[in-house]
């Protein structure tokens, strides 16, 4: 049995569906970073764990019967690396809509904003209706931006203060450009 290196595991996530209040919930999903790939998902240390696998790995293994079986049980999601060009894989993502309970987009470092565009494209272009989770180097000061471009759950870096994180979403009562969550503010007539 091998124990794969994980990117991280935060036992709680911030869950902030559109048109609901943000809250802390139990994290059911482990992120597998693709290490120790021996043809299948290594044992991550828990039985029947729900796993987010790298999208590029899914691409090469999506016909694997074991993977299909786990995916059919709703235990497999994918995460997009910051340099994954999701528009080149629109068909695969379309097929994933019926299979993956959620997808995630990764921040290799907090100041890398590529996954903001990934989330925006998942929502606007590819019509992904399910959960989009921010993973990786996610800090509380990115939450507001992330929530606006299309993320609705956040697995923060483990050192982040989740209670402070929950307070980040209502800092602004107005916006001056449209986003996934709503239109820009207009003055009342």
């Amino acid at each position: 049995m091998t124990t794969a290196t994980q990117i991280q595991l935060n036992p709680q996530i911030i869950y902030f569906p559109k048109e609901a209040e943000p809250s802390l919930i139990q994290n059911e999903w482990q992120v597998w970073n693709g290490d120790q790939d021996e043809g299948g998902i290594p044992d991550l240390g828990y039985e029947d764990q729900k796993v987010l696998v790298p999208f590029h790995w899914w691409n090469t293994h999506h016909k694997n019967p074991d993977l299909i079986e786990r995916a059919n049980k709703g235990d497999i999601g994918v995460w997009f690396a910051a340099d994954d060009d999701i528009l080149k894989h629109a068909d695969m993502i379309e097929a994933g809509k019926g299979l993956w309970p959620l997808v995630a987009a990764h921040f290799p470092i907090f100041r890398d904003g590529r996954s903001f565009s990934t989330a925006a494209l998942l929502r606007d272009r590819l019509g992904w209706q399910g959960e989009v989770r921010a993973i990786g180097d996610v800090l509380i000061d990115q939450l507001l931006q992330g929530a606006r471009v299309g993320f609705d759950s956040f697995e923060l870096r483990p050192d982040q203060n989740l209670e402070l994180g929950l307070n980040q979403f209502n800092l602004f009562s107005v916006t001056t450009q449209n986003s996934w969550r709503g239109k820009r503010s207009l003055l009342e007539a």
């Binding site: 100041r111 565009s117 602004f172 001056t176 450009q177």
Partner: protein
Amino acid sequence: MYKYDAIDQALVDQRVVQFRDQIARRLNGSLAEEEFRPLRLQNGLYHQRHAYMLRVAIPYGLLNSKQLRTLAVIAQQYDRGYGHFTTRQNIQYNWVNLEETPDILAELAKVEMHAIQTSGNCIRNITSDAFAGVAADEYVDPRPICELLRQWSTLHPEFAHLPRKFKFAINGAKEDRTVLLCHDVGIELKKNSAGELLANIYAGGGMGRTPILGSLIKEDLPWQLLPSYLTALLRVYNRFGRRDNLYKARIKILVKALGPQEFARQVEGEWIHIAKGDDNFSQAEWDRVAQHFSRPAYKALITLSTEDLLSNLPIAEKVAFARWHERNVRAHQVPGYASVILSLKHHGIAPGDASSGQMNAIADLANQYSFGELRVTHEQNLVLADVEQTQLFSLWQAAKKQKVALPNIGLLTDIIACPGGDFCSLANAKSLPIAKAIQERFDDLDYLHDLGDISLNISGCINSCGHHHVGNIGVLGVDKDGEEWYQITLGGEQGNEAAIGKVIGPSFYADEIPDVMTSIINTYIGQRSHDESFIQTYRRLGVAPFKEAAYSNAKAKVQKQDAQGVPA
């Protein structure tokens, strides 16, 4: 000028609250400096050589007297009694305390100002023509578009962490006074024969290490579609701009690598999906914003010729006033009015610096002579845009008392300079002492006037905040083994014939620069024909005679430098 509505005001007020919390977390140690850095930069706060520096936005260069008074108060209470107007229509304070910055921002918010996105890897403060709305050569007043895009870009979530900084310039006049082609995106506004407002989009211009002029990538874009088109453009950049190398992260590198045509094709491919979306501007939004840029209550006056203006003046004042009028006064769209440039290039003062006292006095002048408004130019001067011609003489006398009436606009000592190594932690070399030494060398106004139009731009490092690449004469500070050297470029130009200057050869020591300038200027004087300007003479002759003259007195040091392998 634009007045905040309840939405704008709420946004800047809440931004102060957000930043106050971020600073508190930094101070209590729960936010690491590395992670705080982009947060403070996106609020204009740099950590400089001696202290924190706060850069405050003056969106598209427009300011009212009340705001200028607040800027003066901030300089007095929180800094050392002066501020520095920058080449991007911002003002910088060099000596602020981290703990006090939320209070400064709260003061700014009270007068509808902020420091949002004046730094960081995001869409920066949008710059435009300092003569917008009044210039005689204007096709379209760019200010409503500037303001609409200011709002659109403010706290834009998708583009908060771009590969690198992103600068917009917007021009609506025949002459380009915005250095449009040296911006990440340049927007050129015009009207078609049906009177519809359209935009041409240039992308991939920039200065810095790799100076490149922008390429035209989109023509005749209806103004309403700017948000969707710019979203597409920025999205392509955000996704594919390089992040592996700080020096290759600007959009110019991406545009160059792909080629402008391919870049334009990719933007178009993105845009086609969002072009009809409701991100675009509506007529109602235009109306809401544009009403603030209606003309002030101009009187019905007649245009006066220079002779008219001079005819009744005291003899003793005539020559000096005429000279100031020639250099510092610009034609206006409205008969009987003129725009006045107040020079912040008094010899011996750091270019662009103004004291609290000057700011307050200039605010008074704005109230008395120009409907209480003023503008900041990218050359680091101030403009009173709407002055009655009959009041020019009286304004000139008042401006002289404040030392902002030097008739050197566009002349050799109207130097553009960054703060350089005296303040900036990025700088390789000082720029202010170089500017001062040149101003001292060329302190004779008669001589300066005889030389005519020459732009001299000084940057303390390759980041090019002093726009040296587009100066007719550019000076760039470089560092070698702890010594400060200066590289000279010639032939740069801003405006419609924008050009990047060429390096003439190995660098010079600081103390050689005044002599080098004299050699270059003497070459021009010796070679010019009739009323040829410096840049015209340079273009006719090429670099050779200037180069030869520049090095004739500096050979020994150049040889030493060659031996040490100092980069040219």
